[in-house]
Symmetry: C2
Subunit: 189 residues, 2 copies
């Protein structure tokens, strides 16, 4: 494995283990067995290394969505699976999820990262479109509806991750809330 890949893998592992603050260049360098400033020969700065982690994960999500879309399941099942994929990823790797969907510095780097994000969204939107074709979701503009559904999912996950989904709020779980949303959005239900 090249040093670049090793650095990305180390940063990814540190994100899972201790959150974004744990990803210091000193810790990353130490994990790979090089000095704390050697990463600068592979990435412009700390932000670029984190963006590289995000790139890998966006590609993974795109693949996952694509696999679900090409499966033989019925549209709403595909949608629920796609949303569950996101929820599982967000819960298992909260710091990495935030990198992809909540970190302004990452998005500000534009270019490759923005394209990777748009590819993942396009796959998601394609699944939503299938639901719309089968009249299982309303006839709103596909991008707007897909964005709204994704944003709802994101809001639920972010509130949960930051400890704001208290049972007292009636938000017993992200899964239940998503199911409620899809049910309420279903035409004529």
């Amino acid at each position: 494995m090249t040093t670049d890949k090793k650095l990305i893998a180390a940063a990814s592992a540190l994100l899972d283990a201790g959150g974004e603050d744990a990803v210091t260049l000193r810790a990353v360098g130490h994990a790979v067995g090089i000095s704390h400033n050697a990463p600068y020969k592979h990435f412009k700065d700390r932000g670029a290394l984190l963006a590289a982690v995000a790139m890998v994960d966006f590609a993974m999500l795109t693949d996952a969505f694509c696999g679900i879309r090409q499966s033989g399941a019925k549209p709403t099942t595909k949608l629920k699976r796609a949303l569950k994929t996101v929820a599982d990823y967000g819960r298992t790797h909260p710091a990495r999820y935030r990198l992809l969907f909540s970190n302004a510095d990452i998005a500000a780097q534009g270019g490759e990262i923005e394209q990777a994000a748009m590819m993942a969204f396009a796959e998601f939107a394609a699944i939503v479109k299938e639901c719309q074709s089968k009249q299982e979701l309303p006839d709103a503009p596909n991008a707007a509806l897909s964005g709204l559904i994704y944003a709802s999912m994101h809001g639920l996950l972010d509130l949960e991750a930051s400890g704001r989904m208290r049972p007292a709020k009636g938000l017993s779980s992200v899964g239940q809330s998503v199911d409620l949303l899809i049910q309420l959005l279903s035409p004529k239900a």
Copy 2:
């Protein structure tokens, strides 16, 4: 004004001016005219100072929601106004908004801050309940529906603030997306 209040005001201003990273105890102390470690006599640590800022803002949102609820407007108008209040606050003070709704460390402090958050949510839920009573929103459990609507709003705002609401995604604006949500949720529309 007591030193405590001055520190909170200074931290709040620094959040608006330069984001969370700009709120260093050195900068806060300097703004108030004391040394960089004097704040420790008023707040346990940097996190407690930020939590105090969040407390003030939660109370402000609670008041705003309460005022809207007691107005003579029709329920859906109240709901839209409440959501617009949140959107305006989130856009004008993004760093402070994140403190209230995205910062895990703040929520983890529990106690007072959690209670302040729940009071704001209760006011919001009361407005949603009025909409439900007038059959303008579906007959789902109030807390679950309120949480879902708020989470959607939060997801839209967070994605926008972090630079992920590209027009290409069909999410031309948070306002339009919120309107779409309320329209789609309206029974028999």
